[in-house]
């Protein structure tokens, strides 16, 4: 093993030396390592569910409004499988101190997933002003 001590590395691509898809980084506690690729967010988006508008995103192509409270989101560079995890958030208004609705993420596929919001009281579809999703998993 050789060690190179530098302050800054400028590179277009980082690739594992032994296994191209695996780079170990020292964990915060300093005693173990964790996997760089596994810890990266593979896609995220911030949508307006009323207007079917993507405010900002990473690795998300576009969304399709599939009716009140239903949105299909497409992943640009595909996942390796459909067993990725999605953290999500919904808020019916941009700034209100209430948590009205429930949200589910399903229809997972390598190229996308759906975001669905409904009223907690009766399960009726309900658009929300803020929809967030963060995808963690394996890219293809």
């Amino acid at each position: 093993m050789s060690t190179l001590n530098v302050d800054t590395i400028k590179s277009e691509t980082l690739t594992g030396k032994t296994v191209a898809s695996s780079i170990a980084v020292t964990a915060e506690g300093g005693s173990i390592t964790t996997n760089l690729q596994q810890g990266l967010c593979k896609a995220w988006c911030f949508l307006d569910g009323y207007d079917a508008l993507i405010h900002d995103s990473f690795n998300i192509t576009h969304e399709t409004d599939e009716g009140t409270g239903a949105h299909q989101v497409n992943i640009t560079s595909p996942m390796a499988n459909a067993t990725f995890a999605i953290g999500n958030n919904r808020s019916r208004v941009d700034d209100g101190r209430v948590a009205y609705d429930e949200m589910t993420c399903n229809d997972k596929a390598t190229d996308g997933f759906s975001l669905n919001t409904a009223q907690t009281s009766n399960n009726a579809g309900q658009d929300n002003a803020m929809l967030d999703a963060i995808v963690m998993g394996d890219l293809a």
């Binding site: 900002d56 958030n89 919904r90």
Partner: protein, 64 residues
């Protein structure tokens, strides 16, 4: 953050001592996004606000 268009999600639990469905509560919802902050709002099992024992959050987006 570089702007207020990032993705923020939250989770948590109402009562950290309980492990069954008595945990069921609405939320947390995240909103009021700004470059330097956001708000989380935890609900009860109706639509009223409710303080929770644990609230977690994560954000993905562009740093300044």
């Amino acid at each position: 953050m570089a702007n207020a268009n990032y993705s923020a999600t939250a989770g948590g639990c109402f009562d950290i001592t309980q492990a069954d469905d008595t945990q069921a509560r609405q939320g947390p919802a995240v909103n009021n996004l700004a470059a330097g902050s956001f708000r989380t709002h935890c609900g009860s099992n109706t639509t009223s606000a409710n303080d929770w024992n644990v609230v977690t959050a994560k954000a993905a987006g562009d740093l300044a």
